[in-house]
């Protein structure tokens, strides 16, 4: 077991109800997990807690037997070795693509830095864009820079917040496949949040369905989403049957 999350509880200071209630799961190395749920289900809260941007009320979180947080300890975000791709990408506007990517590589030696930059640029196929600034890139390119920046320091885990919400429908299908390829090629453990079942189905190894801060179900896409698919098939069959009867 690579990552374990146990009984994590959290509520925002301005509300009484828990945003997240006893969230527990384990993740294997290299796995792609999708957290699926409607808005307000607590899915973004999971990411913010894992990243260290919010402090949990209770519970623990370990990566490879290293405690990230528990009752006594709380590791600051910069010490966690977790990468994140923000919904709006949050590319630093005053830095070029290369500077953005190298931002997190301050512990690398100069040569290693350049080598890693080249490596991730190749991975996201943006080699020619190193000297551009974020505003000179399309939405899809910006997203790939954000991914490259997040994986460059070789984090244990990478978090993606609604990675497809800012892209137009045409691009989405293409990018889904690209993203899965990138994540798999880099063999990087990742958790991404989405409200779109199709996204989850296309990319995830496993899906966590959240509802009102609680886990509704965890499982492989084919198992979980098939439940719904089965229902659709049955409904269609029923309609067809009725049509036949009416004829």
């Amino acid at each position: 077991m690579f990552i374990s999350i146990d009984n994590v509880c959290f509520s925002y200071s301005n509300t009484k109800t828990a945003a997240l209630n006893k969230f527990s799961m384990t993740i294997e190395k290299g796995e792609v997990i999708s957290i699926l749920g409607p808005s307000g289900s607590g899915k973004s809260t999971v990411l913010r807690l894992l990243a260290g941007l919010e402090k949990p009320e209770d519970g623990s979180f370990n990566i490879q037997d290293n405690v990230i947080f528990d009752e006594k300890k709380f590791l600051q975000p910069e010490k966690r070795g977790i990468g994140m791709v923000f919904q709006d990408y949050a590319l630093f506007p005053h830095m070029s693509v290369a500077e953005n990517i190298m931002f997190g590589l301050f512990r690398f030696k100069k040569a290693a830095k350049q080598a890693r930059l080249k490596e991730v640029l190749e991975l996201v196929e943006l080699e020619e864009f190193a000297d551009r600034y974020p505003y000179q890139l399309s939405g899809g390119q910006q997203q790939r820079v954000a991914i490259a920046r997040a994986i460059a320091p070789k984090p244990h885990l990478i978090l993606l917040d609604e990675p497809f919400s800012n892209l137009d429908a045409e691009l989405q299908g293409k990018i889904r496949k690209e993203l899965r390829d990138i994540l798999k090629k880099a063999n990087i453990t990742s958790v991404f949040v989405t409200h779109d079942e199709n996204d989850a189905h296309a990319i995830a190894d496993r899906i966590v369905k959240l509802k009102e801060g609680k886990i509704e179900v965890i499982g492989r896409p084919c198992d979980i989403l098939n439940i719904n698919r089965q229902a659709v098939v049955e409904a269609v069959a029923l309609v067809e049957q009725q049509d036949m009867l009416s004829v």
């Binding site: 709380f74 975000p77 910069e78 630093f92």
Partner: protein
Amino acid sequence: MQRSLKNINVWTFSAVIIMALLFLPNLTIVGGIFTPTNENWAHMKEHVLWSFVSTSLILVVATAVLTISIGLSLAWLVAQYQFPLRNFLKWALILPLSIPPFIGAYTYHGIVNYTGVIQTMLRERFGMEVNPSYFDIMNLPGAIFIYTIFLYPYVYTITRIFLSQQSASLIETSRVLGKGPWGTFFRVVIPISRVSIIGGASLVVLEVLNDYGVVKYYGIQTFTTAIFQTWFGLGDIESAIKLAASLMGFVILVLMVEKLLRGRRQYSYSTTKVRPLPLIELTGWKAAGATGFGLIIMALGFFIPVIQLIDWTILTFGTIPMEEFMLYVKNSVTVAGIAATVIILFALIVGNFGRLVHGKMAKLLPRLSILGYSIPGAVIAVAVVTAFIGLDRTLAPVYQALGFDTTLVLSVSLIMLISAYIIRFFAIGYNSIESGYDKIGTNFRDASRLLGMGITKTFFKVDMPMLKGAIISGFIIVFIDILKEIPLTLILRPFNFDTLSTKVFQYASDEKIMEASQASLLIIGISALSIIVFYKFIEKEPK
């Protein structure tokens, strides 16, 4: 609970210290209410306090009504109509703000008095000997005129920006529903722009309550002048503190009225698609009227006083040795520069605190520390002096150990003046920085931290470069405000330390009006330039 303790780091620690330093001196004033009263205070309370209250009240109410009438009507004309010189007037109408009211006050006195250009011309050209009292401006109505003509841009600017950016569909709906221009103005324009009108007017009111230069020069007794008189004339700091506390009560009343008038109805736009108001072309006498009205206000608030000042400068040029003049410039720039730099640094730290710490306290504390701007200079002066004398008393043993032969060190130094500036003008710098922080949000900071940078490194590598605009504009506004400042500088400056504005005030008080003009023009020039740059910068009107 234990977890929230971990939030305490260098940033939150310094932010809390700064906020306490900014806020605590004001508590001396509150404390002063409870000290036993003395004879002076009893006398004042019985005989003169009410007249301070009523005079200040008349000044405030009359100025508010007049600035709203002028500011709002000009804002509406410029926002909604096309008429000759509109594009020029649109920004030129802001310029009166660059003339500090006390400079306007003595300039107008110089224009209309017995030896001034108007009476001289009437006598020499037309042989008319008029009753000089017709031209007496040094009274209550005169002061109201001065405040109105130099402060209306607060209402004008805020309301105009609101109207031209926020109101298109509401105003067009009113038109389509059959309301004419007047009906639309009274039924739609005034109600929707209420928040900006009140916002602008309350800035005007706070400026009037803070003012010392105009009322002192015109010999009008208000709270501010009374505080200084009690303090220096009677040497009675306790009564001065009590007066200051009463004035603070007055200001709090103003702020409460403002809040009440704004009410819960905060009109904000219901859609994010904001489009500019299309202009309606005025023709004939209507166009002439609009242009004429704008030009008259413009002339009274800017051109007439500036031309007079230029004339005086030419007449007296060379009477003040250049070396001396440059010393005042250097002094002004030094104190304003140091204070503005410290304010921006403090604002960056306090603003970052607001983003690092969640919860109600984190929102409330910065609010408290920006109270300084609503507290008049005279009150802050009393508070700061009291605090610094106390500090010197406490430090007296240290001074002795260091071999000083005096017990007053800090309270006679520039540090005291600069501290007072910082308390008074912190809010202005903070507002600029805070809106900068709001604009960049927290994602960039979070992204940087997740890439392994700590809070401090993130601040220098990510926040600072992205806040550049807010830092520069905040610095400029604070710098200009300090350059123009009068009461604090007059009272708290070290012996023999003069700035441009104290020199202007001194010359004017000594009836050397012409000699004051050179320094006045420099102040106005720098202010005007930065006002133009600033408004061009914050408002890029879509064409």
